[in-house]
Symmetry: C2
Subunit: 409 residues, 2 copies
C-alpha cells in the first residue's frame, strides 16, 4: 500500500485535446494484460524530454534523444512494459528503430516523429515482432479518454496507477494537462525504470518547452529517490499539442510561461511523490531538506547522503529516532571544511541537534512521536550559506528485501 | 554466522613483546561483560593511525589525532564499548581528556601518550566515572597473553572475535605482530564503528610508520564496505614497540620495510575481510574488482557503486544472476565519457557482458552456478586504461533489516 497516496479514478483524468491513447496486449512477458501503449499526438505537437544519466542508457532513450534533437515535433509515443531494451547494443538500437518505423506506418508520420519508452528486463532482446503485431490493436483503440487504461498498461511493480490532471485558466484560456508515471524503486527483479509523460494542449515553442521540462524535472522527479539507483531507462517527456486556442508562448519572459510552469510542476511533483509513496516496501514518506549550505550541490549531496543511508532508512522503518545515524550520514556526505559545530537538525517540529551536538531541550519522547508518523520531514541546517535542496525518499523494510530478492518472474 | 571466516582460538594469538592488555567491566551499558580495555606499551613504542573522514568525528578520534601529531610516542590505548562519545561537542572532548589523565596517572605516563578508541551509542554523554573506576581493575589485569580477552571486550554486534597473529623473520630477526578488530556494518542500533589495532615488536621510525599505516589502510580496511556508512569513530592504529632486537628501520628504502609491510598488510587484510565476512546479516562475501580504468579513483567509484547498490546486494542475497542490476550500477557510477560499448564483466570465471551487452556465450545456468557460491568475485573491465581498484562487500538480507530495525538495546 502506498504511503498516503490516493490513486486517481478514471473520471479524474481529463482528456487533453490533440492526444489519443490506445493499449494492446503485446505478450511481452507471460502475463494477461495490456503491455503496449500507443499515444498519438495531432500535427503541431512539440515535445521535450529529460532522460537517465546512466551510461548504459537504453536504446529507446538514445532514440528519444536523437528524435527530439530534430526540433521537438512529435506525433506518437510508443511504450512497452516487460522489456527495457537496455544493455542490448546495436541490436537494441535496430529493434527500437523498427518500432518507430512500424508506428510511423500505422499513423502516417515519419519514424523521427515517434518517441519510445521501454521498461522491463535488462539485457534481453526486445520482442519486436510481438510489439509490431500489437500496434494495429492499439491504434484502433486510440481515444482521448483512455488515460486510465494507458496508466494501467505501463505499470510494473507499481501497486497503484499514478496519474493526475490539472485544468487551469491562463490569460483567460483554459489549459488542460494530464500526466502519468510509473515506477516503484528502480527495479523489481529487472523491472526497471521511472517513466513519465505529461501532455498539455498549451501552445509553446519547442525550445522553451525543453527548458521548462528540465526545470520541472529538477524540482520533481530529480528530488525523488528510493534506493539511489538510476535506471537505464528513466524518461520524462512533456508534449504540448497547442490545441487550447492560445497564442503560442514564444518568449521566456511571457508571464503565461510562469503559470504553465506552476501547473505542470504541480503535476510532476504529484507524480514524483506518488512514485516514492509507492516505493518498494515503503511504509513512510520522508522529506529531507538541507538548508543554509554553501551551494545547492552541497545541500543536495548531504540530502541524498541521508536519503540513501541504509541505516537511516531502516531506522525510519523501525520508527526509531536514531539520531546518531542521521548525524553520521551528514558527516559522511559533507566536505572536509564543514564546521560540524554549526550544524542543526530537526525532525518535523522537534529540534534534535544544535551546535553540532544533541539539543539540550531534546526529549527522546518527542523524537519518538515524530518517527511514528507516516510522513516525516528531516530539516538539516548547515549554518554557512544561503543554498538549499530537498529530496523525497521512503524507508527500507523487510518488504523491500523480499521484493528485490525474489527471482525474476 | 560469518561467511567463511574461522575465528582465532586464544592460543592462536601471539604475545607481542612490549605490549600488555587488561580488561574490566565498566558497566557502560546494562550488560554483563568486560567493556573497558587497557593496552599498555613499554617506553619507546611509537604509533601511527588513520581515522574516520566523517565530519562528525568522535572526541576520541580528535584526541588520537592530536596526540599522534606530537611525534607518535605512545604508552597506552584505552578502549571502551557501549558509548561512542560522538556528537557530544566540547563536553565529549573534556570527557575524553579526563580518560587520558586517568590512564596516565595509572601507568605513570603523560596524558598525551594515551590513545582512545570508543564505540557504541552516538550523542549520549560518556560515563567517564564508570570508565575511570574500571581502570585499576584493567590495570591489575595487564598481561602479555590477554589478547583474546581484549578482543572479546571490544566486540559489539560482531558475532565472532576478529584477531590474528604473524611471526616473520626479517633480516634474521623474528618479528611478532598481532592485530585485532571489531566491526560488523557501521552499526547495530547506534553501536557503531570499525576499530583496529595492530601491535608489533618491530622497530621503526614514527614518520615511516605513519606512511606505512596509511598504505596498509588503503589496501585493507579502506577496501571493506558493508553498507557505505563510515562511522564517526573508525580508527586504525599500528603500534611498534621496538622490542624485537632489530636495528630500527629509519629509511624508506630499507628492504626490511617491505617485509614488514607484507606481514602487517596480511594481518590488516585478514581483519578487514573478517569484518565484511561478519557483516550484519551477511550470507555472501563479494569481491568487486574494476580494471582497465583511466585512474584508480574511477575504478574505486565504480567498485563502490556496485558494492553499495541495494539492488545488487539483494540480488546476491537471492543468488539471482541479475545482470541488469550490475550493469545499471556500473552505468550510474561511471563518468559521462565512459564508452559503455567497451565494458565487460565477469562473475568469477563466467564472462557475462562484453562489448557493452550480454556475451553471446553467456548461459544463465553458468551465472546461476556462481551466484550460489558463498564467495564471489565480480570483475569489471572498463577497457580504457591501466588503473584498477578492489573492494570487498557482502549481500543485503532480511537479517540486515532485522538487525538494524531493532530498537536500540
Amino acid at each position: 500500500m502506498p504511503v498516503r497516496y490516493q490513486p486517481p479514478l478514471p473520471a479524474d483524468l481529463a482528456s487533453v485535446p490533440g492526444v489519443t491513447l490506445g493499449t494492446a496486449a503485446g505478450h511481452i512477458k507471460n502475463w494477461q494484460r495490456d503491455d503496449v501503449l500507443l499515444v498519438a499526438f495531432e500535427p503541431g505537437t512539440v515535445a521535450a524530454g529529460v532522460f537517465t544519466q546512466n551510461r548504459f542508457c537504453a536504446a529507446p532513450v538514445i532514440i528519444c534523444r536523437e528524435h527530439l534533437a530534430r526540433g521537438g515535433s512529435v506525433r506518437a509515443l510508443l511504450v512497452n512494459a516487460g522489456n527495457a531494451n537496455a544493455g542490448t547494443g546495436a541490436a537494441g538500437i535496430k529493434a527500437a528503430s523498427l518500432c518507430c518505423v512500424a508506428v510511423a506506418a500505422q499513423l502516417g508520420c515519419t519514424p523521427e516523429e515517434v518517441l519510445l519508452f521501454s521498461t522491463g528486463v535488462i539485457m534481453e532482446p526486445l520482442p519486436v515482432e510481438r510489439i509490431v503485431e500489437a500496434l494495429p490493436v492499439a491504434s484502433r483503440a486510440l481515444a482521448s479518454d483512455h488515460w486510465f487504461a494507458a496508466v494501467l498498461a505501463i505499470m510494473t511493480t507499481d501497486t497503484v496507477p499514478k496519474a493526475t490532471s490539472r485544468i487551469v485558466s491562463i490569460d483567460g484560456v483554459d489549459i488542460t494537462a494530464t500526466g502519468m508515471a510509473k515506477g516503484a524503486g528502480m527495479i523489481h527483479p529487472n523491472m526497471a525504470t521511472m517513466l513519465a509523460l505529461i501532455a498539455t494542449d498549451a501552445s509553446i515553442a519547442a525550445g522553451l518547452l525543453q527548458t521548462l521540462t528540465r526545470e520541472i524535472a529538477d524540482v520533481s522527479f530529480n528530488c525523488a529517490t528510493i534506493d539511489g539507483d538510476t535506471s537505464t531507462n528513466d524518461s520524462f517527456v512533456i508534449a504540448a499539442t497547442g490545441k487550447a486556442g492560445m497564442a503560442p508562448i514564444t518568449a521566456a519572459g511571457d508571464p503565461r510561461l510562469a503559470s504553465l510552469r506552476i501547473a505542470l510542476t504541480d503535476i510532476a511533483v504529484t507524480l514524483a511523490q506518488a512514485i516514492v509513496r509507492d516505493g518498494e516496501g515503503a511504509t513512510k514518506f520522508i522529506t529531507v531538506r538541507v538548508e543554509q549550505g554553501r551551494d545547492s550541490a552541497e545541500c543536495r549531496r548531504i540530502a541524498l547522503g541521508i536519503a540513501h543511508s541504509p541505516l537511516v532508512k531502516t531506522a525510519f522503518f523501525a520508527s526509531d529516532p536514531n539520531l546518531g545515524r542521521i548525524v553520521c550520514a551528514i558527516g559522511n556526505a559533507a566536505t572536509p571544511d564543514l564546521d560540524a559545530s554549526r550544524v542543526a537538525f530537526w525532525l518535523d517540529d522537534v529540534l534534535v541537534v544544535e551546535g553540532g551536538s544533541r539539543s539540550a531541550g531534546y526529549l527522546e519522547a518527542d523524537g519518538q512521536r515524530v518517527m511514528q508518523q507516516e510522513e516525516i520531514t528531516i530539516r538539516v541546517i548547515l549554518g554557512r550559506g544561503e543554498a538549499a535542496a530537498m529530496v523525497w525518499t521512503c524507508d527500507f523494510s523487510h518488504e523491500y528485501v523480499s521484493i528485490n530478492a525474489d527471482y525474476r518472474s
